[in-house]
Symmetry: C2
Subunit: 348 residues, 2 copies
């Protein structure tokens, strides 16, 4: 891997072409970066799974790029790199996983089998994750649950950086919400979106590339509209999607995945960070719904008619692009910018 | 009541001033309209509670105006006016109420105590309503649950009249979603919004008043933008709020409150209606979350700090206007347009 890596660095330096890696190479690189920076083997494996899945599905802002902030978070000493999540069976319908200030993916992977077991009996069930550092997209989680034939809804706050509708000061995080609905033999229906106009990672990628951001994504420290990624990220504020409705959804996510489960709001996560700029610390709420218990059938004609009514008129299902990218990546591997590749090698 | 009613009709005819009714008078009028049109006493009482609550809170499109469509639905013979909902304890966490093609409010009132009982044990629980004619706002339901110290999330499809993002043909209903979070001694945090840009009732009220609708609410039968309420309501299509994100939420509501619970999508509700123009027939999903079980405290400082962070910068909580209207109505009664008052009397 090392000589191969050096070759690629050389190549990148000359033409600044993207670096092409097989998925196995991307996994190996991620594992090395994380392990050599002190993350336990269990955590490194689960973090690698979500990061490589993100890159594979062409979600650049949740792909290999995130390794930089994972390492930064560990180097700040806030993330517990060897934390072993503990599991509590809170009720017939609720399993609670305390991540003990480790990264979230391992906590999810340990809690999910319990959630699946519970929901098969109760029809609706919840997996609560507390005290986790969360940086990943939510679709890998809801998609994993849908593979067991259940619908799933996940939400989490982050660091406050989004103003409520009618305001100018940050209150909400980008507060993502993700949903999956199983479709028999097909890939599930999945969406995963930030309740801000865009994900913070999208603004960070614009800054990295030196590109302006579209109008409407955020305002600067003086409360004025701006197309500068720097101005939004440094002292500015992002905006919620869909006006007061998006703002209301962001509030719900704060409440359900924060105070309801005894965990931090985005404001509190930001305070706890104390300017370190580390991945947010907070909780996550993941709901599962079993169609077999709730009255639906697993490969439901009614759901398929709904999907056809959307796609037959040329509209897109939210996961289509991601699934197409996945098929390509499985054959062609992934591509990351040469500069990112160099930054990752510099962490070894 | 009758002589009083006649006085008010006379007054209305002369000056077309709004008609002022006490809440007790509004209740009595609603009960008479519903009973004299054949609705059972139990149903008439529960329908009246949500309709008068809507008018009291200045939600005109879910207020006394809805009596017109309730009666129209009964006269079409589709709604079962004496249906007695049946209750099934589906699991430790799920209660299912079959409304047997009656209106939904009675089904909710009969199911809610079971939901409250379950969620106190399991932490998360669901009330599923099947086969109901649904016309009411959802906030009365989630607000009633919050009064028991639990958070609640409710959603329901309707008749297909909203195009998916990127499309022009109706697939979704206005698909409302409502959420409540308890706040100790204060009124709960509550939102209730259509996933269309506006509620269908708002467009109907514009038509009734002869007003144009703002741009962006809908498109006409040819797929062009229009400000004509008639064009949108007759063969046109409404649009989802927030672009592809709102469209994704609308899809989730179709799936969770439709196929997941073995009930109709908005497309199927429209088909079942067969052009009668009756209130939609479908299901509803209501989730409850108990902070005492899930790790949160009931009057949570963390939640209150969140609300203050929103209101301290001059932004509004979504239920503020409604609660203010309620306070006024409790003192001053309600006001309805004279023409609506005449239309209601004509139903007696």
């Amino acid at each position: 891997m090392n000589s191969r890596a050096n070759e690629k660095t050389a190549e990148a330096t000359v033409g600044e072409a993207d670096v092409n890696l097989t998925l196995a190479e991307a996994e190996a690189l991620s594992l090395r970066v994380l392990s050599q920076n002190g993350l336990s083997a269990l955590h490194a494996a689960s973090v690698t799974r979500v990061i490589v899945a993100g890159q594979r599905d062409a979600c650049a802002s949740h792909g290999m790029y995130r390794l930089l902030s994972c390492v930064q978070s560990m180097r700040h000493g806030k993330v517990s790199p060897g934390a072993v999540p503990t599991i509590e069976q809170r009720s017939a319908a609720v399993v609670v996983v305390d991540a003990h200030r480790g990264f979230s993916p391992l906590a999810f992977e340990m809690g999910a089998p319990h959630l699946i077991e519970k929901v098969a009996k109760t029809g609706v069930a919840a997996l609560i994750i507390n005290n986790c550092y969360h940086f990943s997209a939510l679709w890998p989680e809801v998609e994993a649950l849908a593979a067991h034939g259940v619908a799933a809804l996940a939400m989490t706050p982050s660091h406050s950086c989004v103003a409520p509708a009618g305001g100018r000061a940050p209150v909400f995080g980008t507060n993502p919400i993700a949903f999956a609905f199983p479709r028999g033999g097909q890939q599930p229906y999945v969406f995963d979106f930030a309740t801000s106009v865009v994900a913070r990672g999208d603004i960070e990628l614009h800054r990295r590339r030196g590109d302006p951001i579209p109008a409407g994504w955020g305002i600067n420290a003086s409360g004025e509209a701006t197309t500068s990624a720097d101005e939004v990220l440094d002292g500015g504020v992002m905006l919620a999607f869909g006006g007061h409705k998006g703002s209301a959804l962001a509030t719900m996510i704060e409440l359900l995945a924060g105070p309801l489960i005894g965990d931090l709001t985005s404001l509190e996560s930001r305070e706890f960070d104390g300017g370190a700029g580390v991945t947010p610390l907070h909780g996550e709420l993941i709901l599962a719904f079993d169609p077999q218990v709730l009255g639906g059938a697993r490969d439901d004609l009614s759901a398929e008619r709904l999907f056809s009514a959307i796609t037959d008129q040329g509209a897109r299902l939210p996961s289509e692009r991601r699934y197409a990218a996945r098929e390509r990546s499985l054959v062609e591997g992934i591509r990351i910018p040469a500069a990112l590749y160099r930054d990752l090698l510099a962490l070894l």
